[in-house]
């Protein structure tokens, strides 16, 4: 064991090589010039382009309404509200049919898009001020 340790110490002494220390530094390779820029671009968390726009909210609200409706429909179908004494949840899925829901969802979506378009047109060409929606949401 001691013999081995002595051998390792000897190796440690031998490893000090000024010639190699001086010359191997020449083999250091530098990456391309745009390396740092590329890394920064990958690291920086870019906000989703849509997250600041009003279209994002319209696109997010539509599936949300549909999802809530589907959940209520499933709960009603499985009669879970009764089993867990959740009768106070109104039977929306029966009152509001899927076709009626789709109609309102489309109305909201198109209405929203219309007002966004109008707001964009007014702010850009007429009032030349900050858009109302971006003022409201950003």
């Amino acid at each position: 064991m001691n013999q081995n340790l002595n051998n390792f110490d000897k190796i440690g002494d031998e490893l000090h090589d000024d010639w190699l220390s001086g010359n191997l530094k020449l083999t250091r390779i530098e990456p391309p010039l745009d390396f740092t820029k590329n890394v920064i671009e990958r690291i920086e968390k870019k906000p989703n382009l849509l997250s600041n726009s009003s279209i994002f909210w319209i696109l997010a609200i539509v599936p949300f309404i549909l999802l809530v409706w589907l959940m209520l429909y499933a709960l009603n179908l499985a009669s879970i509200t009764y089993q867990f004494r959740l009768d106070f949840i109104p039977n929306i899925s029966n009152v509001v049919s899927f076709s009626v829901l789709s109609k309102y969802v489309l109305m909201i979506a198109f209405g929203g898009l219309f007002f966004i378009g109008l707001d964009y047109f007014l702010s850009k060409y007429i009032s030349k001020r900050e858009s109302f929606f971006s003022f409201l949401l950003v």
Binding site: E14, L26, R28, F35, T36, N38, R42, I43
Partner: protein, 193 residues
């Protein structure tokens, strides 16, 4: 604060700023270590494009996990460990070409003196070629020890090996490098005459 002023800051101070999403501090930290991270990746992957991708991945992984860095070792040791593991896992997918090098167990003094007579560019070329002939692990060890002056403890932490193992591998790698240099210089002399 100008970029030159960031260069004067310590790793700890820069990390503090990077955590607060300071992009100039991030750039400064990347600039400080990009050379070594790229060199280490290149030593393992032996391909410029793969090395660049691996080096970028290393920084992305390191900065994403910066919150978990507890300053229990040097930042460079932590970063090189990520770099080494990342490049090794990449090399398993794309296996770099290996060249068998027969090791002589005496270090030829003629080799070093012959190299001393060459210009810096030529010396760098031959040393680079000789390093490429070594096994990735050996060239990484030599780079960490002789180029970046890491000590045996740090290299052991980076490569997840024991200190005695590092010493033996370094010893062997250095001898292989000299052998390879001798072969390369002899080939060059034969071509000239």
């Amino acid at each position: 604060m100008f970029r030159t002023e960031f260069n004067k800051l310590s790793d700890e101070e820069l990390i503090g700023l990077v955590v607060k999403n300071h992009s100039r501090a991030t750039a400064s930290l990347v600039d400080r270590y990009k050379g070594m991270v790229f060199t280490l990746s290149y030593r393992i992957l032996k391909n410029q494009l793969d090395a660049e991708e691996a080096a970028q991945d290393t920084f992305v992984k390191a900065f994403n996990a910066l919150d978990s860095f507890r300053f229990d070792c040097k930042f460079s040791t932590w970063l090189y460990r990520i770099c080494y593991n990342n490049a090794i896992s990449r090399s398993r997918v794309y296996k770099p070409m290996q060249v068998e090098v027969e090791t002589k167990f005496d270090i030829p003094s003629e080799t070093t003196s012959a190299l001393e007579n060459l210009s810096t560019n030529d010396r760098s070329k031959y040393l680079g070629k000789a390093m490429e002939m070594l096994e990735p692990e050996e060239s990484v060890l030599l780079t960490l020890y002789y180029v970046d002056n890491n000590n045996i403890n740090e290299i052991a932490a980076i490569m997840n090996l024991t200190e005695s193992n590092i010493k033996v591998k370094l010893h062997r790698g250095r001898k292989k490098l000299y052998t390879q240099l001798e072969v390369l210089l002899k080939e060059e002399v034969t071509m000239l005459f």
